[in-house]
Structures are given as C-alpha cells and as structure tokens.
C-alpha cells in the first residue's frame, strides 16, 4: 500500500517516517515534482549562495553531500533517510535553485543509442 498521508499533526512524530517526513517537509508528504527517481543524478549548484539561516540540518547535509554528482538513492543512503523524504527535500532545493538535476530525459525509456553505449561499456570490462 502507498505511504499514507497523515490526516492530523502527530503528537509524537519521531517514531515513524511518514509522520516525521510530514513535519520535516512543512506539511507535504509528496515531492512537488514527479520526475525524481532513485537513479536521478543531482549536484549542488556552485554559485557561492548560502542556504538561509532557517534551513534545516537535513537540507544542509544534503547540499554538503552533493558537492559532487550523486543519485537520489545514494543521497538517501549516505544521509540515512528514506528516499521518499529525500525526494521531497531535493525537490524543494531544486525549486530554490540550490540543487540541479544532472541526468536528462528522466521521463523516457533509455533509447537504443544509450542501450548500445551501455552494452559497449560492459563489453570493455
């Protein structure tokens, strides 16, 4: 079953992830964009801009970890957070211009050119 969206503010929200995610993300349980996948490549935008003082520690850790390119799944693993929560945080940081998606065409099936390139790459191992 899908992750349930909480229907009220929890009283002891730190015992399970969906409720916790809800608090950490300011009341939203789902990312605003649906193009993020576990393999989507992300990289911090290197323009010297600092996060606002009010930003949470997960956002800071996330940007810090994204100084180089990583997938959303890797970010979740390194930060020890559920990928569903990381997707929400990432989505906000992209909207605010702190984080960029590096991999293109996330909506499509890999085309034949890309498949052949992967096959060649595997042949060269």
């Amino acid at each position: 079953m899908p992750v349930q969206k909480p229907v009220q503010k929890p009283t002891d929200g730190y015992h399970d992830h969906p409720v916790r995610s809800y608090v950490l993300t300011g009341g939203r349980a789902h990312p605003t964009r649906n193009t993020l996948r576990p393999e989507t490549l992300l990289c911090a935008v290197d323009d010297g801009r600092e996060l606002p003082l009010g930003a949470g520690r997960h956002e800071r850790a996330l940007l810090e970890t994204c100084r180089g390119t990583l997938s959303l799944a890797e970010l979740a693993a390194y930060l020890r957070l559920p990928a569903s929560l990381v997707a929400v945080l990432v989505s906000d940081l992209i909207d605010a211009g702190y984080l960029a998606v590096r991999s293109g065409g996330a909506h499509d099936l890999p085309g034949i050119d890309l498949l052949e390139e992967v096959l060649d790459g595997l042949r060269n191992f």
Partner: protein
C-alpha cells in the same frame, strides 16, 4: 573569546551530518546520465552478491517505512503497524559518461507498492533464480507482470548441489518466453555478473530494434 572570529561557521558545521558528506563517493565529472537495472529474486538468492560483484562503490542500502492506515488516528497503533523495507544497490560507470545503477529489489508485493517509480525507465530486469526452489520466484514474477513490461534476463545461481537444468526447462517452468536470455554460474565472480548484465542489455537492444522496425 579570541577564537570566535576564526571559526565563524562553527554552528553551521555542527548542524551538518558529518560522515554523510565525508563518505560520499561522487561520480566522475564526465558522467552526464544514469540508467538502471533491477536485480530481482526471492529471499537469499544472491541479489546482493551479484550487485557487490560489479559495483564500483561498496553496496549501499536505503530504507522505506510502510505504515498502515492507523497513522494519524492512533499513534500507538501506528507504531505497531510499521515495517521497514530495505533496498540494496550498487553503481558502475560505463563508457565514462553513464552511471549504471543496480537496484536489488525483493519479491514481496509491499516492496513494489512502496517504491513508486522504481521500475520506470529501467533498462530491464535481472531475475535471479535458485533451481532448487524455482517456485519461490513466482511471487517476484507476479509483481513484475503487474508493475512492468521490462525486458527480462534470467540468472541461474548455481549453488553447490543444485541440479543442472536445461535453459528451456527453466524458462518453461517460469512461464517466460523461450527467447529470454539465461546465464548461469557462481555470481560471486565479477565475470559472471558482468556477463549477466551484458545478456540483459543485449536483449533490451534486440527488443527495442524489433519494436522500432515494426513501427
């Protein structure tokens, strides 16, 4: 205090999860895209072993929590009805520009329901089977049928003592098309694991070419 000015962002540094950033193994700057393959199979069939044999990074794991409808109604009940589902994965850079992710996905229904978007856009599925307990693969196959139309290749993990079977017999038993690639061997070796990936991607290329020439 004299040192206060030399450490202006001590507070900010403190707030960062320290080992997350330090331990991260970033992709090379040449990598511009990613693709993925799902490694599926019954409990203990060798998914993590295969991923570990080819991955350029140590196996990583991420967890999701499933909570029943009682959340938000009664927190005490909610805490009881929560289970965790973990996903192992690895990564290998192919051809310098592409990161190939290998996601190890268990067969249970709850897993597929949880990881929305996991199968979307995947190159294909490596289905690992143990011929001593082929029937354990049926739940995985049901889930695949329900959630994806991805190219599939079968990997027979030859555990010691497992009886040898003709490829055709295995495919028939799994009710898979007889042109499905099948490789077998000991998945602890890198060569076997790479061979399995090649077989799957080559199959995906064939299927895609057939599609585009039919269109």
């Amino acid at each position: 205090m004299a040192s206060a000015t030399s450490e202006p962002d001590a507070l900010v540094q403190d707030a960062v999860v320290p080992d997350a950033a330090a331990g991260a193994q970033h992709l090379a700057p040449t990598v511009v895209r990613s693709v993925k393959i799902l490694v599926v199979g019954a409990y203990g069939v060798g998914k993590t072993t295969l991923i570990g044999a080819v991955s350029e990074i140590p196996i990583l794991s991420t967890e999701e929590t499933i909570t029943t409808a009682s959340v938000g109604v009664d927190p005490r009940l909610g805490a009881k009805s929560t289970t965790t589902v973990a996903m192992d994965f690895g990564r290998v850079t192919v051809g310098g520009e592409t990161a190939l992710y290998l996601f190890g996905t268990p067969g249970q229904r709850r897993f597929w329901d949880l990881w929305v978007g996991l199968a979307d856009g995947a190159v294909g599925v490596l289905l690992l089977v143990d011929t001593r307990r082929l029937e354990d693969s049926f739940e995985v196959l049901d889930q695949l049928e329900e959630h994806t139309q991805l190219p599939v290749a079968v990997v027979v993990n030859e555990f010691p003592g497992a009886p040898a079977h003709a490829a055709e017999d295995v495919l028939r038993a799994l009710d898979l098309p007889l042109d499905t690639p099948l490789v077998s061997g000991d998945l602890r070796g890198r060569a076997q694991a790479v061979e399995a990936l090649r077989a799957l991607v080559a199959h995906a290329v064939r299927l895609r070419s057939a599609e585009s020439s039919a269109a």
